[in-house]
């Protein structure tokens, strides 16, 4: 290969990458937070025992689990405003889609985690006189959490990678800024290599921490 690598021009645009990184991390954290809270609520609705609540919650989860994130994102940006008769900024549409997508998967993780705790643990907690919330907080939650750590972290990693999709609706994340830099410098090879390195530098430590946590909790 005779290609002459030259990162000089690309690094000249470093501030753009910084801005992009800010958007990427911001979107990841906010959508993960909203997604986890919504996911927890969905799990509660699914376990409420009332079909009026559990059926819509299951439907929501399955719709977002069984369609691609990119389709959801584009749909939220182009189709949802038509349906609801409102305008959504690219940011809002992107945040909505990513949060709902995350919520579906987080809900599934919470449900699976709670299901692994034996029913006898609820019996024992109730028999002592604990109310459902106390039982969840003191007995069921701590046991389920250990099982949930690994899938939660890998979902968070996916969530961060999925934010790259928001560039499609012109949210200036890392990938979007990369496209800007690439068209300004005509150096896509260096640009996308730089972007890949940045993603890797963030995600590799996270997956390693997850591995350590997983090992510690599976005594």
């Amino acid at each position: 290969m005779n290609y002459h690598w030259d990162f000089g021009d690309v690094l000249h645009y470093w501030p753009l990458f910084e801005t992009g990184l800010g958007y990427t991390l911001g979107f990841t954290l906010i959508s993960a937070l909203i997604g986890m809270v919504t996911g927890a609520l969905l799990t509660l609705l699914r376990r409420s025992g009332w079909k009026i609540l559990s059926v819509p919650a299951v439907a929501f989860v399955e719709v977002f689990r069984c369609t691609p994130a990119l389709v959801q994102l584009v749909w939220c940006y182009y189709a949802l405003p038509v349906v609801l008769g409102i305008t959504l900024s690219p940011m809002m549409a992107a945040l909505l889609a990513l949060s709902c997508y995350g919520a579906a998967f987080y809900s599934e993780i919470f449900r699976a985690g709670l299901d692994t705790v034996e029913i006898g643990q609820w019996d024992a907690a109730y028999a002592l006189g604990m109310r459902p919330f106390t039982a969840l907080r003191r007995v069921i939650g701590p046991q389920a959490f250990k099982i949930m750590i690994a899938p939660l972290v890998s979902q968070f990693v996916l969530q961060l990678k999925n934010t790259s999709l928001v560039s499609v609706v012109t949210v200036p994340d890392l990938v979007y800024q990369g496209q800007m830099v690439a068209s300004a410098t005509y150096k896509p090879l260096e640009v996308y290599t730089t972007i890949a390195i940045i993603y890797f530098a963030i995600l590799f430590p996270i997956t390693q921490v997850a591995r350590i946590l997983e090992r510690r909790y599976h005594v």
């Binding site: 643990q121 019996d123 024992a124 109730y126 002592l128 109310r131 459902p132 046991q143």
Partner: protein, 256 residues
């Protein structure tokens, strides 16, 4: 004093779907007495026990424990979780599968009720928990995790955990069924000591000799109904009903 009624169950009914598990069950237990529920598996005795502390919600009837009455039926209000929890706190329950909390040490298990239900401080709860661990012979294991204990040890801790809430009634759901024969005797000894100390007990058991020697009342159930009930020795030694005789045949064959 001994005439005082601790448990009063009236016309209790329970179905799982279309399957009737309990049909018109009525009985009462005087304070300080032990009642043993015996019968073939599927007779409804475990469900009845779980109904007494509302782990299963009865469909109809009423239960009174220590003067507090809960009514069940379509017309009765759906009880709030706080009311259910308060009613359950009056009874202690010991399970066949122990159900110790694996995320807590032995001591923390025994303190859990005091701390998380009554909201008592850790130090105070420990003052209650340690003597109970000593009572069941587990004081040396306070800092152990439940996973490290044998079945018999787990069950002793589970008894201490239930006693820590200072219950008026203890419910034992086949508490010895998952144990080796030597361990069974240890648990039965603890239960016998509790009975001698005046604890009202409802015991679902396959241990006929325990039922005969320790229980005051024996109630034989089959197909969700009470077939025969009376003084323990009389029901075990001289059953009147055919079904009871048939069920106890194996036990008596083993004795003679």
């Amino acid at each position: 004093m001994s005439k005082e009624v601790m448990i009063d169950v009236v016309n209790l009914e329970k179905s799982f779907g279309k399957h009737k598990v309990l049909e018109d069950i009525s009985f009462s237990v005087p304070k300080g007495k032990v009642i043993a529920l015996i019968g073939p598996s599927g007779s409804g005795k475990s469900t009845l026990l779980r109904c007494i502390n509302l782990l299963e919600m009865p469909d109809a009837g009423a239960i009174t424990i220590n003067g507090k009455t809960m009514d069940f039926g379509i017309l009765s209000l759906r009880y709030r979780t706080t009311e259910l929890a308060a009613f359950r706190a009056e009874t202690g329950m010991v399970f066949q599968s122990f159900n110790l909390f694996p995320n807590m040490t032995v001591l923390e298990n025994v303190m859990a009720g005091q701390r998380f239900v009554k909201g008592i401080s850790k130090d105070q709860a420990e003052l209650i928990a340690r003597p109970l661990l000593a009572q069941v012979g587990m004081e040396g294991f306070a800092a152990s995790m439940p996973q490290r204990l044998s079945g018999g040890q787990k069950q002793r801790v589970a008894i201490a955990r239930a006693l820590a809430m200072n219950p008026k009634v203890m419910l034992f759901d086949e508490a010895t069924s998952a144990l080796d024969p030597q361990r069974v005797a240890e648990i039965l000894t603890i239960m016998r000591e509790l009975a001698q100390a005046g604890m009202t007990q409802v015991v679902v058991t396959h241990e006929m000799s325990y039922a005969r020697d320790v229980a005051d009342i024996v109630m034989f159930m089959a197909d969700g109904r009470v077939v025969e009930s009376g003084p323990a020795r009389q029901v075990i030694e001289d059953p009147q009903e055919e079904r009871t005789k048939d069920f106890l045949k194996h036990f008596h064959a083993g004795c003679s």
